[in-house]
Symmetry: C2
Subunit: 205 residues, 2 copies
C-alpha cells in the first residue's frame, strides 16, 4: 500500500521557541520536509536563499498568488509570506511528514484546504511578560519590531482553541519531549483518501 | 493556574491489541485514569468488579441512562456497555488524562459531548485476515463470538476517518512507540474553557 504523508503545523509568537524545538527534535522524529516560506521581506544577516526562505519581490509574489501556486499566504509587518504548494505535494507523495511554521491566518487557510491531513500545535511562552523578556534579550530586533511582535502575539494567542495541541515552553526539555510526541502522532494522521485506501487494503479487497 | 485534564479515546476491533498497548504504555505516559466500563454482561473467568468492569443488571443500567449518568452507552452483542460520568469528571478536575477504551458509537457520542477535550486513536491489525488469525489463536472466544467480532470489525473499520490518528499494530514495539506519542500529545489538548483561562493567565490579567 502506498504511504502518503501528513502535515504538522506549528504556530506561535516569534520568540516562543518554535525554531529551536524543530531543530532539536530533528534527530528523533524521522524523515520530514520542513516547508520553507517564500517572502518579500529583506534577508536578515546570515539568512540564505533556499535554506531560511525563498526571497522574492512583490510583483512575482502577486503573480504566483494569481496562479494559485500558494497553499497560503499572508501579509505580516507589511511583507508577504507564503507557502508554495509544489514542494509540499512532492513531499506528501514521498510519504514524508511536512512541517509548516506558519501563523494563525496560514493555519486557518491550510485547514480549509488540507484539513484532513493536518495536526496542529501552538507553541507559546508561559506569559506575555516572558515573551517580551525573550524578545528583548535575544537582541535581534529593534524596539518597533518588538512592539509589532507583541501586538501580533496578543492577536495570535486568541486562536489557540483552533489548534489541536498547546505547548507552553517554560522548560525546554519538557517542551521538546512534548513536541516530539506531537510530531510522531502527526505521522499517524490519515487523510480521507488514505483512510479509504487503507480500509480496502485491510479487507483484502 | 488550575490544570484541567484531557481525554484519550482508544477504539478498534477486539484482538487488535488495545489493552496490551495501554498496559505496556503505563509507565511512560504519567498519571492517568483508565475509564472502567459498566456492563450488563456476565463476568468472564478472572474478571474482577471495579477492576475490569463495574458489573450490573439491565434494570439498574437503564435507570442510570434515564438519570443522565452515562457519558455514552451502547448495546454490543446484546449487552449494555457504558461509561459513568462521575469518575471521569473527578479525574479531569484532578488534571489527569482520562483514557477510554470504547467503540465507534461511544466515540461519536463522546465527541458530541466533550469533543474539545478529546484526542482519539483507532488501533487495528494490518489486515482482516490477521485479525481473524489473532482472535482464533488467543483461544478465549468460541466460533460464534469470533464471527460477531469480525462482523463488528467490518463495521468499525469504516469509521477510521472519524479518528485523529490510526495505529496499525503490525509490530508491537513500533505500535507502542506510536501509542505513547499519541497519549503524550493528548495531554496537550486544551478545551475551550481551559484555553480561555490560559489566555487570561498569559496576558497577566
Amino acid at each position: 500500500m502506498h504511504e502518503f504523508g501528513a502535515i504538522l503545523i506549528v504556530s506561535g509568537p516569534s520568540g516562543a521557541g518554535k525554531s529551536s524545538l524543530i531543530k532539536a527534535a530533528k534527530e528523533q522524529i524521522g524523515d520530514f520536509y520542513f516547508s520553507i516560506s517564500t517572502t518579500t521581506r529583506e534577508p536578515r544577516e546570515g539568512e540564505r536563499e533556499g535554506v531560511d526562505y525563498f526571497f522574492t519581490d512583490q510583483e512575482s509574489f502577486e503573480a504566483d498568488i494569481k496562479a494559485g501556486e500558494f497553499l497560503e499566504y499572508a501579509q505580516v509587518h507589511g511583507n508577504y509570506y507564503g507557502t508554495s504548494l509544489k514542494p509540499v505535494r512532492k513531499a506528501l507523495e514521498e510519504g514524508k511528514l511536512v512541517i509548516f511554521d506558519i501563523d494563525v491566518q496560514g493555519h486557518a487557510i491550510a485547514r480549509e484546504r488540507m484539513g484532513d491531513l493536518i495536526t496542529s500545535v501552538f507553541v507559546t511562552t508561559p506569559t506575555l511578560a516572558e515573551l517580551e523578556h525573550r524578545l528583548r534579550s535575544r537582541g535581534t530586533d529593534g524596539d518597533d519590531i518588538i512592539k509589532k511582535r507583541i501586538q501580533n502575539a496578543l492577536v495570535e494567542i486568541e486562536y489557540i482553541s483552533a489548534y489541536d495541541f498547546l505547548i507552553v515552553n517554560d522548560d525546554f526539555e519538557r517542551a521538546l519531549d512534548s513536541f516530539i510526541a506531537v510530531a510522531k502522532a502527526a505521522r499517524l494522521k490519515k487523510g480521507r483518501k488514505q483512510a479509504l485506501a487503507f480500509i480496502n487494503h485491510w479487507r483484502g479487497a
